[in-house]
């Protein structure tokens, strides 16, 4: 049984500044509710491809895309896209843990606050849910106000996974190879 097509990449070419041709004619289909892994040697462009999905390359003006990435039939690479909206729908976790300089609670609440959720009870409930999903709740439930930098490397990585979780529960969710630093535990 194949699920609905979630994301379709058509003839994607990507150039870093100075016309370094990093991605050459990529065609790929990703299905809904499936786990897709990109595997390859270091430096082959896995992260570059992932960063195209939420237009992270747009932070650097000289990087250039060609082709199409269709996400639920909308072209992500279209010129007039609202990048802020797009990025809040398509979450991304980076290779190295990058918690914000705030408390553990505020880290997870950051994405929610961006979405305009301000009620305390609401926030608390969603933060708890996200931390449970990231298998971190039991370890941090007694020190939610501590700085996120007090956590160990693996805990920090799970924390940054929890950050996009509550705001993106229904949309596409992607990761750059971050799981290396996590002792992986299968969820029940």
């Amino acid at each position: 049984m194949t699920n609905k097509v979630e994301l379709e990449i058509k003839g994607l070419n990507f150039y870093y500044s100075g016309d370094i041709h990093a991605l050459k004619n990529i065609n790929l289909t990703i299905h809904n509710k499936s786990v897709t892994a990109l595997i390859g040697p270091s430096g082959c462009g896995k992260t570059t491809l992932l960063r195209c999905f939420n237009r992270m390359h747009d932070l650097y003006p000289k990087h250039r895309y060609e082709g199409e990435i269709l996400f639920r039939d909308n072209n992500l690479l279209a010129n007039g896209n609202d990048l802020i909206k797009l990025r809040s729908r398509i979450g991304m976790v980076f290779q190295r843990p990058t918690p914000f300089p705030m408390s553990i609670f505020d880290n997870v609440a950051y994405g929610l606050r961006l979405k305009g959720i301000k009620k305390k009870s609401d926030l608390a409930e969603r933060v708890e849910k996200a931390l449970k999903h990231a298998a971190l709740w039991d370890e941090v439930k007694n020190k939610l106000t501590a700085s996120a930098y007090d956590l160990s490397g693996g805990q920090q990585q799970r924390l940054v996974i929890a950050v996009p979780l509550p705001s993106n529960r229904k949309s596409f969710f992607l990761m750059s190879p971050p799981l290396l630093s996590i002792r992986y535990r299968r969820r029940k």
Binding site: N54, R89, F94, M102
Partner: protein, 153 residues
């Protein structure tokens, strides 16, 4: 500020000292901001945070300790300034709250009293230097404590 107004004033002294502070604060702030890693900014952008929120909520927070330390250091630096005060706040032998008139300042008092002919003036000059030193020590310690307290919460 002295010439157009026509007299020495505390405000002029304050303005002169704050101009002296600018380069020190600017330099440390710039350094501290560039120490905030790009990955941190990217992480915030990746969540769909607009530019100004990334700067205010993530970059400034990350650099807050450093910026704060820079400000404290420059206050300490400026507290030991004499020359600019001679031309702006001048001096006043009496205690004064009037920012529009000549203002006494510790450093200028030290200068004048130490130059004076009397032994008790010398003693007072020493006392004033001690007060300055203690004041700077006090600022530095409070700064440290504030930073610690902020991060303990």
């Amino acid at each position: 500020m002295v010439r157009p107004v026509g007299h020495f004033s505390g405000w002029a002294g304050a303005a002169a000292l704050s101009i002296i502070m600018i380069p020190v604060v600017l330099r440390t702030t710039e350094d501290m901001l560039s120490l905030v890693p790009w990955t941190l900014r990217e992480a915030a952008f990746a969540l769909g945070s607009p530019y100004y929120k990334v700067i205010i909520q993530v970059v400034y927070r990350g650099a807050a300790t450093g910026i704060f330390t820079g400000i404290l250091l420059s206050i300490a630096r400026v507290a030991g300034e004499t020359a600019p005060l001679l031309f702006t706040a001048f001096n006043n032998s009496f205690f004064s709250y009037n920012m529009n008139g000549p203002m006494p300042s510790l450093t200028v008092s030290v200068f004048q009293y130490a130059m004076g002919p009397y032994d008790d003036w010398h003693a007072q000059a020493w006392a004033a230097s001690l007060v300055i030193t203690l004041f700077i020590l006090f600022i530095t310690i409070t700064g440290r404590l504030l930073i610690k307290w902020r991060y303990k919460q």
